[in-house]
C-alpha cells in the first residue's frame, strides 16, 4: 500500500481485505486499497469483477462478510446508506436514478436537507424552524442547477428529463449532500461524448476548487487514461493491480485480465 508521492495526508478511504458472498457466489474476495484525498481514481475490471458490489459495500447498501472499511479514519462498514451519505461519502448508480415524480428542484432540495444529525423528531420540528434553512437550501440547489445548466428545468418533473440531463441532475444532487468523496458508477454510460467530457470537466474542476475526491467505474479506457490520476484494477473480486495510468497500461496482468477484453468490446 504505497501513497502517491507528494501526498502526506492520510488516505480518505481505506478498504481492507473485504469479502462478500451472495448465496455461495463470491462477489468480492479480499479486496484492499486506499484512496488518496483529492485524487480522481478509476476503478476498472471486467464485468463481474465485483466493482458495483464493492460500491454497495462502501456506501452501506450491503454489509461485508469480513474486512474493514474506514472513511476519514472511522469504520463505516455496516452503517445504513443515509448515515454514510451524511458523513460526506455519496454515490451515483450505474442506471441513473432520479425521483421521477418530483420536480428537479425538489430532487435537489431533498438531498440538501439530509443534514447530519437530523432525526425523526427534528424532521417533524423542521416545519416550525422557519424558512431560513429552507431558503438556504433552495439557494444552494439553484446555484448547483445553474452550474449544470439545469436551472431552466428546476420546475419540471425529473421524470421528463432526457437521459443526459438525468446524469447531470444525479451529479448535481450528489453535490448537494456536501460530499468529500464521490463514487460514480459508470458516469459515461448512455451519455454522448460531448456531455460525458463536460461531466468529467466538472469533476476535475470540483476536485480543484473544492478538494473533492472521486472514485469512478469506467469501461472506456481512453477516458480512464486521460482523466484518472490513479487506476485500481479488479478481477474476480480482488484488486489485482493499481498504479498510474501509464503503469497500468503496461502491466501484463492487467492486459491479460482486462484490456484485451475491453478493446474487443469497444
Amino acid at each position: 500500500m504505497t501513497h502517491s508521492a507528494g501526498s502526506p495526508a492520510p488516505p480518505i478511504l481505506v478498504v481492507e481485505d473485504v469479502h462478500k458472498s451472495f448465496g455461495g457466489v463470491r462477489a468480492v474476495a479480499g479486496a484492499s486499497f486506499a484512496l488518496q484525498r483529492g485524487a480522481i481514481t478509476a476503478l476498472i475490471g471486467p464485468n463481474g469483477a465485483g466493482k458495483t458490489t464493492l460500491f454497495d459495500l462502501i456506501t452501506g447498501f450491503a454489509a461485508p462478510d469480513a474486512g474493514a472499511i474506514r472513511f476519514e479514519g472511522k469504520p463505516i462498514e455496516g452503517l445504513p446508506p443515509h448515515s454514510v451519505t451524511r458523513r460526506g461519502l455519496v454515490r451515483t448508480f450505474q442506471l441513473t436514478r432520479v425521483f421521477a415524480a418530483m420536480t428537479v428542484l425538489d430532487n435537489m432540495m431533498l438531498a440538501g436537507r439530509g443534514q447530519p444529525g437530523e432525526g425523526l423528531l427534528q424532521l417533524i420540528a423542521r416545519r416550525t424552524a422557519g424558512q431560513r434553512v429552507e431558503g438556504e437550501v433552495r439557494e444552494r440547489a439553484l446555484a448547483a442547477l445553474h452550474r449544470f445548466d439545469l436551472d431552466g428545468k428546476a420546475g419540471d418533473y425529473a421524470g421528463t428529463l432526457s437521459g443526459g440531463q438525468r446524469k447531470l441532475l444525479e451529479l448535481a444532487r450528489a453535490l448537494m449532500t456536501d460530499p468529500t468523496l464521490v463514487l460514480l458508477d459508470e458516469p459515461m454510460a448512455g451519455v454522448n461524448r460531448v456531455l460525458g467530457s463536460r461531466l468529467l470537466d466538472d469533476v476535475e474542476e470540483l476536485r480543484r476548487t473544492a478538494g473533492m475526491t472521486f472514485l469512478f467505474v469506467e469501461h472506456d479506457m481512453d477516458i480512464v487514461m486521460r482523466r484518472a490520476d490513479h487506476v485500481i484494477v479488479m478481477a474476480e473480486g480482488a484488486v489485482i493491480a493499481e498504479g498510474s495510468p501509464d503503469a497500468i497500461r503496461a502491466d501484463p496482468r492487467v492486459i491479460d485480465a482486462y484490456l484485451g477484453q475491453a478493446r474487443s468490446r469497444t
Binding site: T59, G60, F61, P80, P81, H82, T85, R86, V90, R91, T92, F93, R97, V98, F99, A100, A101, M102, D106, M109, L110, A111, R113, G114, Q115, E118, G119, L120, L123, I124, R126, R127, Y157, G159, T160, G163, R173, A174, T177
Partner: protein, 330 residues
C-alpha cells in the same frame, strides 16, 4: 408511487383536463340528469347519502393507499387498525374520561401499535427482502391477531359510543345526520391535510422520495428507516381517526367492522389510483355516489354489487385508477 393530482402530464386522451375536474364534470352532469328524471329532492338526498358513505370510506382508504404507495405493502390489517382505534377509544371512554380525550389517546395508542409492528414485523421482513406474497400473508396474520385480541378483551357484542346519532341537519328538503356531517368534513379536511403534507412538507417529500426510489432516497441522505416508521405512525393515526369517526357516526360497531369495510377501502383506493391521497377521496366519492344513486332505480340489495361493478368498469377505462398515471420513469 405516491403521486400528486397534477403529476407529470400523462399521454392519454383526457390529459388536457385534470382528472379531478373531469370527474367533477361527470358527477355534475349525472346529478343534473338524475334530478331531471327522479326529481331534485330524491336525487339530492341520494347524493348527500353518497357523500356520507364516501367520507367514511375515503378516510379509511387514505392510510391504506399511503402504506401501499410508499412501502408496497397491501395492508390487509388496515381495517383492523380502524377497529383498534375505535375500541381503544371506547375502552378509555368507558373509564370515565371525556370522549375527545379518549379519542386522542386512542389515536396515539393505535399509532404506537403501528410503529411497534413496523419494528417487530415489517422491518425484519424488509431486511430479509421478502416477497410481496410473504408481506401479504404477514399482513393477514396481523389482521387476525388484532381482531381476535380485540374480541378477547372487548367481547364480540355490539358496542356504541352512545353519541346522539339521531340529530340531523336539515338543508331545505334534504337532511343528513349531524355526526355524519362532522365525519364527512373531518374526513375531507384530513385527506386534504395529508395531500398537502405529502406535497409541501419536508417529511412528506421524503416519503414521496422513498416511494419513488428507496435506494436513491438512501444516498440522498434520507433516514429511510425513520421515514418508514413515520409512515406507519401516520397510517395508524389516520386509521384510528377513521375508526372512531365511523363508530361515532354509525352508532354501533362490533370487532369485525373494520375487516368488513376493508373491501370498500380497497375499492376506493384502487379506483382513485392507489398511492394517491386525493385518489382515495375521489374513489370514495365515486363508489358512494354510484351506490346511493343506484337505489333510485334498483333495490337497495344491489348496492354492494353496484360498487364493484363501478370498480371493474373504471379499471377497464382507466387501468390505473382516476389519478393513476403511466410511470414517467424509463
Amino acid at each position: 408511487m405516491i403521486e400528486e393530482a397534477s403529476a407529470p402530464p400523462s399521454p392519454r386522451w383526457h390529459s388536457r383536463l385534470p382528472p379531478a375536474a373531469w370527474l367533477a364534470l361527470v358527477i355534475i352532469a349525472a346529478l343534473a340528469l338524475l334530478a331531471g328524471v327522479k326529481g331534485p329532492v330524491e336525487a339530492g338526498q341520494a347524493t348527500i347519502n353518497g357523500l356520507v358513505d364516501a367520507g367514511y370510506v375515503a378516510l379509511g382508504a387514505v392510510g391504506l393507499t399511503l402504506i401501499f404507495g410508499i412501502l408496497r405493502i397491501i395492508n390487509f390489517a388496515h381495517g383492523d387498525f380502524l377497529t383498534l382505534g375505535a375500541y381503544v377509544a371506547l375502552m378509555i371512554a368507558a373509564s370515565g374520561l371525556p370522549i375527545w380525550l379518549a379519542a386522542a389517546l386512542a389515536i396515539l395508542v393505535t399509532a404506537a401499535v403501528a410503529a411497534a409492528l413496523d419494528k417487530l414485523v415489517w422491518e425484519p421482513m424488509r431486511r430479509m427482502q421478502t416477497s410481496t406474497l410473504q408481506l401479504l400473508l404477514a399482513a393477514i396474520g396481523i389482521a387476525l391477531v388484532l381482531r381476535y385480541t380485540i374480541q378477547f378483551f372487548a367481547g364480540s357484542q355490539v358496542r356504541s359510543f352512545g353519541q346522539d346519532i339521531l340529530s340531523a341537519v336539515n338543508l331545505g328538503p334534504w337532511h343528513l345526520g349531524t355526526l355524519q356531517l362532522v365525519a364527512l368534513l373531518a374526513g375531507i379536511a384530513l385527506i386534504v391535510a395529508v395531500g398537502l403534507g405529502l406535497r409541501f412538507t419536508a417529511v412528506g417529500k421524503q416519503m414521496r422520495a422513498l416511494s419513488d426510489n428507496m435506494a436513491l432516497a438512501e444516498v440522498t441522505g434520507i433516514d429511510t428507516r425513520g421515514a418508514i416508521r413515520l409512515t406507519w405512525i401516520v397510517a395508524g393515526a389516520l386509521a384510528a381517526i377513521a375508526g372512531i369517526l365511523y363508530a361515532a357516526a354509525v352508532g354501533t360497531i362490533n370487532p369485525n367492522f373494520g375487516s368488513l369495510i376493508l373491501l370498500s377501502l380497497f375499492t376506493a383506493a384502487v379506483l382513485g389510483g392507489i398511492g394517491n391521497a386525493y385518489g382515495a377521496l375521489l374513489g370514495g366519492i365515486v363508489i358512494g355516489l354510484a351506490q346511493e344513486w343506484s337505489t333510485l332505480f334498483l333495490n337497495a340489495r344491489w348496492k354492494p354489487a353496484v360498487g364493484f361493478a363501478i370498480l371493474i368498469l373504471t379499471l377497464l377505462v382507466l387501468p390505473r385508477g382516476i389519478f393513476g398515471r403511466v410511470p414517467a420513469r424509463t
